[in-house]
């Protein structure tokens, strides 16, 4: 268990990168990655919640009674999600409109609860912070990659900039829901190839 803080951080970027390795948090992964911007926005929001809730859960880990720990975690997570929701409404309203219901749904994202339960409730504050940050950044990168693939193929743009000439016929299947599954499957396949 005696891993260094750097190791805790780095593991979220490859060994335990959430949607690909742990195959957790698929709902937002599949739903919001129509474009890179949405993916990064969702990733940053989730990272914020993950880091804050990890820190707080870890700080309170000796106070929270074991029998009601899940209820306590949910209160903590829901509080930070609502904070994010309010802040996004106040400062990045167009992005909030695009992500819509998926921001409040971070509450039930199994990555966040999973890290609280599996890591933060058993470790001290600094490793928990590193763990949350690592997993969060890994999640953001995954969403950005999937978003890039889908946006380039599906609408021929990257971050809203048009990439190809007017003759480009968008492969609109990729921005629909089935395209999300296919895209995720292909990325998983590529990751497994690298592993070997």
């Amino acid at each position: 268990m005696a891993k260094s803080i750097t190791q805790e951080f780095v593991k979220g970027l490859w060994d335990e990168i959430p949607p690909f390795r742990l195959v957790l948090g698929l709902c937002p992964t599949l739903a919001v990655t129509k474009s890179v911007e949405n993916g990064i926005g969702m990733g940053v929001a989730t990272t914020f919640v993950l880091v804050c809730s990890n820190i707080l859960v870890s700080a309170l880990r000796n106070i929270i009674p074991t029998k009601v720990r899940i209820a306590c975690f949910i209160i903590i997570i829901a509080t930070f999600v609502t904070v994010v929701e309010l802040l996004m409404q106040a400062y990045t309203y167009p992005l909030f409109l695009k992500l819509g219901i998926f921001i409040p749904l971070i509450v039930v994202n199994c990555i966040v609860l999973g890290r609280s339960e599996a890591f933060a409730s058993k470790n001290s504050i600094l490793p928990s912070l590193a763990d949350g940050l690592g997993i969060g950044i890994g999640f953001t990168i995954s969403l950005a990659i999937l978003g890039t693939v889908r946006e380039i193929l599906g609408s021929g743009t990257f971050l809203g900039m048009t990439l190809f000439g007017p003759s480009f016929q968008p492969f609109s299947f990729m921005v629909e829901a089935p395209g999300a599954f296919v895209g995720l499957g292909l990325l998983l396949c590529i990751m497994n190839l690298f592993e070997k």
Binding site: V68, T79, L86, A90, P94, L97
Partner: protein
């Protein structure tokens, strides 16, 4: 027993603390969120209704107390005269409240246009109230003294096919806007004269 008390105390303190935190953040961001909504949700609709206005209707707005609630009015200046106001009202639709921005010409008491701001109606059916401009276009030119109803109820507005409830909600909101306007007209005129000469 001691464990029981501890559970209750921890959960209560945690909930109370998060409630307090959220309330304070909500207070901090309230004005900011309102401005953003004005800009991104109501803004496009206001611009559509008051098309060709030479001022910025969102910046030139004022508020009146109408009984308990405050009413916001957005002012449109046409040909150098501030003669149009827009206000938002709500009607009960199929999936919740339908928000409607209603523009009224102060000189001749006629509607200059309406537009749906927020709704949660069925896509392809009731949502046409926002997506299909030909429905809301019917409201243009109706006098505020006319009864605004769908044809089925003896009015002059053709309902969206398959979405009578939504159409009624829009008519109700438009009629409500007219009533509010009639009630506040003296104040509105005074305000317009004082602010825009």
């Amino acid at each position: 027993m001691r464990e029981m008390i501890k559970m209750v105390v921890v959960l209560t303190v945690l909930s109370a603390f998060s409630g307090g935190l959220l309330a304070s953040i909500r207070n901090e961001t309230k004005n900011k969120i309102e401005n953003q909504q004005l800009q991104f949700v109501k803004g496009p609709v206001i611009k559509m209704i008051l098309e060709g206005a030479s001022n910025d209707p969102i910046a030139d707005r004022f508020e009146f107390k109408d009984g308990e609630t405050g009413r916001k009015f957005f002012v449109g200046v046409f040909d150098g005269k501030a003669n149009t106001v827009a206000l938002e009202t709500f009607g009960k639709g199929y999936g919740g409240d339908v928000g409607l921005m209603v523009g009224i010409n102060v000189d001749n008491d006629k509607l200059v246009g309406v537009g749906v701001t927020t709704h949660s109606e069925t896509p392809g059916m009731g949502a046409k109230a926002k997506d299909d401009p030909s429905f809301v276009a019917q409201f243009k030119g109706i006098s505020i003294n006319d009864p605004i109803k769908v044809t089925k109820d003896g009015g002059q507005v053709n309902a969206i096919s398959g979405a009578t409830i939504t159409s009624r909600a829009v008519c109700f909101a438009a009629a409500d806007a007219c009533n509010i306007y009639k009630r506040l007209k003296p104040e509105i005129e005074k305000k317009l004269k004082a602010t825009f000469k």
